[in-house]
Subunit: 142 residues, 2 copies
DNA sequence: CATACAATCTACAGTAACTGTAGGAGCAAG
DNA sequence: CTTGCTCCTACAGTTACTGTAGATTGTATG
């Protein structure tokens, strides 16, 4: 009588590249519904759960925060609504990523310049430390 | 008798663009030493504290994690050591940033492709949702 | 001087998205 | 029956702060 798609939490994890604790975490967050349990209390998942978890993982791997994943799931559950909302969420996330990239690029440039100027002498003459300290009168107050 | 460099926590915050709570947090983390207190228990900072906090903020703005900032501070306190260690920390951080940038770029590309393919119809035919769901048999199991 | 309001104090909870740990029970194999 | 793996719950830890509660102090004004 076992359905071939019946999965324990460990197998579901393997099937989706998700740690067991993470699956339980998603359940606690309401991303996955509470599955039925075996007679001894173990979680039993079906194929729909696997699909849903895969969706979550894919969304997360694209950087959507949990809240956005929750919204995307709700939207995808209602096939008849317009996907404008989906588009909006995705675009907002794209803008977010662009912002992060440009912040990191700015850091990268500064950091790179800092490193390039280092002549590997002593800390006293270190350009990196010097760059980090807005003015250098803290260490050697004259 | 007041030194002109004497600062209350609020003024120190203003002088360095740091919230008061954040300054106390840095103190708890051991990045700033415990300052002397006024008769009524308020923190009193001097110019060296301001320099040190500025260093911390600058390092943080370049993305160095607290632990790295702690190490950089320790190194900068000892002017005679070689700055090889400083260089190593900075290079490790640069590598870290590069990794983050390339992760975000990869996300960005996928996300952009996803969004471009969206025709703003219903969720049922939404390319975004479709892309997120590895195979589409969860919602409509036939 | 009294009163109001701003700044400060301590201590702790909350954020994001998990990860790790403790302590206990189920389950298959030898 | 014992070993060893998976699973269970519940809670603490991670990062770098931010926010809150409730009490006290400092300052400006009437």
């Amino acid at each position: 009588m076992d359905k071939k798609s019946d999965l324990g939490i460990g197998h579901l994890g393997q099937a989706t590249g998700t740690k067991v604790t993470t699956i339980r975490f998603y359940e606690a967050q309401g991303l996955l519904r509470e599955p039925r349990r075996s007679a001894t209390g173990r979680r039993q998942y079906g194929d729909a759960d696997r699909q849903r978890l895969a969706f979550i993982r894919r969304s997360r791997s694209l950087g959507f925060p949990i809240g956005a994943v929750r919204e995307l799931l709700a939207l995808s559950d209602d096939a008849s609504t317009s996907c404008t909302a989906v588009d909006t969420i995705a675009r907002a996330h794209l803008a977010d990523i662009d912002q992060k990239i440009s912040d990191l690029m700015a850091m990268r440039i500064e950091l790179d310049r800092m490193i390039s100027s280092c002549r590997l002498g002593t800390v006293a003459e270190c350009k990196i430390i010097e760059t980090l300290a807005p003015r250098g009168k803290a260490s050697t107050p004259a």
